[in-house]
Symmetry: C2
Subunit: 384 residues, 2 copies
């Protein structure tokens, strides 16, 4: 089969879509992208860009006409739109069935618990009384649509329940409560599964969040070997449970007693897997493309300790990257700048990766570089 003749469609043209395309292009694939933003990061590297919203079913059908296999860079898209594509005879990976389960955090956790995968205690909660009955401390979550801490609220004691319930849209949105876990570390594993069921599990990454947004990923994670092995087995099982095809991210908690439990699963390449671009022979985006194209996986072993730090916009306005020259005085550092025209305070604008012989040295390089680089917003924004 002339596998490279397959045309790939990607729903979502942000940085994840762009980085998928950069890998697909090395293999000569045709790539079309669906995204509402005319100047989205994927725009300039794609063969075709359908400018339309993620709820525009006609746009899904147009994408279908240009592609043989369709994937997506984030999970908050229209499952019914995807189903149209499947019905239209297109290959959709991960499948609509996988997506529907994962999209809904309650269904996701149910599926995991049913398969014996450790998760924090959780329950659907219809109102304030049920939250109180569940017991504090807990995380209150909307079952759909949350990311980067949005749609989540920590509730430490009963008197915080009412505010949290209102802020998450209680009464109009479906909510779930989850036992708040006193974790030692937040870790994640990028895991890939092929159409044939073959799997590739990347090393365990340690994540540090600031204001609920990923700030730093350290690989290998500074946890014990037994815990790392446990985490890898869990990630592998997660891929089986959801019958995931492509690259997934399994976010986990490492507890003080050595136990591991699943926090959340993302059915796509993930911010905490950006380190794989420099850290591994085959990165998370390449292996995602390989998976959906029916190709075997490239090696996922770690080349050397690698640290990634995110670059968030400091202010609003036309995006401007400063300090790149200074950061590049360190030859072990790579800066990735996504090409978003508009900076917003707290928006993910790029990331920095540093490698070295030890995690400590790589971390030092990454932190020093981050101190030198800034993404600021200049006014006025030229919206095009």
């Amino acid at each position: 089969m002339n596998i490279v003749k397959k045309r790939i469609g990607i729903i979502g043209g942000g940085q994840l879509g762009k980085m998928m395309i950069l890998e697909a292009k090395r293999l000569g694939f045709y790539v079309a992208v669906l995204d509402p933003a005319p100047g989205c990061p994927a725009h300039s590297v794609s063969d075709k860009h359908i400018v339309a919203g993620f709820d525009d079913l006609d746009a899904y059908l147009e994408l279908s006409r240009h592609c043989d296999v369709i994937t997506y860079e984030f999970e908050h898209i229209s499952a019914s739109g995807l189903a149209l594509l499947e019905n239209d005879g297109r290959l959709v990976y991960p499948s609509v069935k996988s997506l529907k389960t994962i999209q809904n955090k309650y269904l996701q956790k149910q599926a995991l618990r049913k398969s014996g995968i450790p998760v924090p205690p959780f329950a659907k909660v219809g109102g304030v009384d049920e939250i109180r009955a569940f017991g504090c401390p807990l995380m209150l979550k909307t079952t759909t649509g949350g990311y980067d801490g949005k749609g989540n609220a920590f509730i430490g004691c009963d008197k915080e329940i009412e505010d949290a319930y209102q802020s998450l849209g209680g009464g109009t949105k479906e909510l779930m409560a989850e036992r708040f876990i006193e974790f030692e570390k937040e870790i994640s594993i990028i895991a890939c599964r092929g159409i044939d069921g073959a799997r590739a599990i990347y090393p365990v990454a340690e994540n540090i969040h600031v204001n609920s947004i990923l700030d730093t990923t350290i690989v290998p994670a500074r946890i014990g070997g037994a815990a790392a092995k446990k985490a890898a087995l869990i990630a592998d099982k997660v891929m089986e449970v959801f019958e995931g095809v492509g690259t997934f991210c399994v976010e986990l908690f490492a507890l003080k007693n050595g136990d591991i439990c699943v926090n959340e699963v993302a059915p796509r390449p993930h911010n905490s897997g950006h380190y794989t671009i420099e850290g591994c022979f085959a990165n998370q985006f390449e292996n995602h493309i390989r998976a959906i194209a029916g190709l075997p996986f490239g090696d996922v072993g770690l080349i050397s300790p690698t640290v990634m730090v995110n670059l968030l916009g400091e202010s609003d306005g036309a995006a401007r990257l400063e300090g790149l020259c200074d950061a590049y005085l360190d030859p072990n550092v790579h800066v990735h700048f996504y090409g978003k025209g508009e900076s917003k305070s707290g928006r993910k604008m790029g990331h920095i990766t540093a490698v070295d012989k030890t995690v400590e040295k790589a971390l030092e390089r990454a932190i020093r570089s981050k101190g030198l680089v800034r993404v600021i917003g200049e006014n006025p924004v030229n919206r095009k």
Copy 2:
């Protein structure tokens, strides 16, 4: 300075241009390309494609309007077109002055010899008698326009002179004679020089040619440490001599007695440097972009032994890649497929890179993979 706002123009949209763009895009640069082929490899990843010939001076000026800094993927372009761009206030790297010297193999060798860099004995030759007087064995070369063995002819003895002279266009084209060197190995070094004169020298690569076209690159080269050091010093000096800005390739001969001499210099990233994509933290294309953008270089040390083999078209017609699934059963192998729509027998269509703990093992993987992958031409070609 907001360096990433610089717009880059590339003359030539083949695989080298494409691979430059893939690196430029990681940093968010805008890239315009000038190439006569509407479906050239760089087309789908560039922001703008000016479809025009390399001798179309109006097209050079149009490129100038879209870019701040201009570079090129091959040396057989119009130096006067480039000069227009310099006069138009654009930054052109490598400079017109560097290009003019290197473009002409006679001037190139003269500049090298004058600076004390070892080169084979050479002379301009006006006719058959002068070639005979130079003495066999020799390489007869057109001073401009040659590549992949085209424009070169080996002359072993006097009776071969007449045919070689005619075949290279003697009488109409400027020719030079060069002593044929009994080399032990053909080697090359990718070398980079910044606007500020800073340099980065990649490891020594060993090259095997078949029918005068690069077939295999093995890194590190299987030569002694003293010879490797000598080669690196020569490459470094070459960058000084030509005041090259960007990534260059210095092709060298390693002689049996340990001596090294320069064969040819290319003022651009080179086929024998494709191994750097997997073999080094910062590859030749990335460091080229860094150079022309005024950024310091990324690390050029070898991560692990790496072997590259070229994939040539087997036959003429619409390009079709076969055997990718089989090749990818080896997780240490990357296939690069340039996305040329049309295969021609002997045309460079892609390459394979393999890494391993030893050169021997990497070579074994590369050769095995090459045996599994084919690029064939299917008729009819859909020319678009």
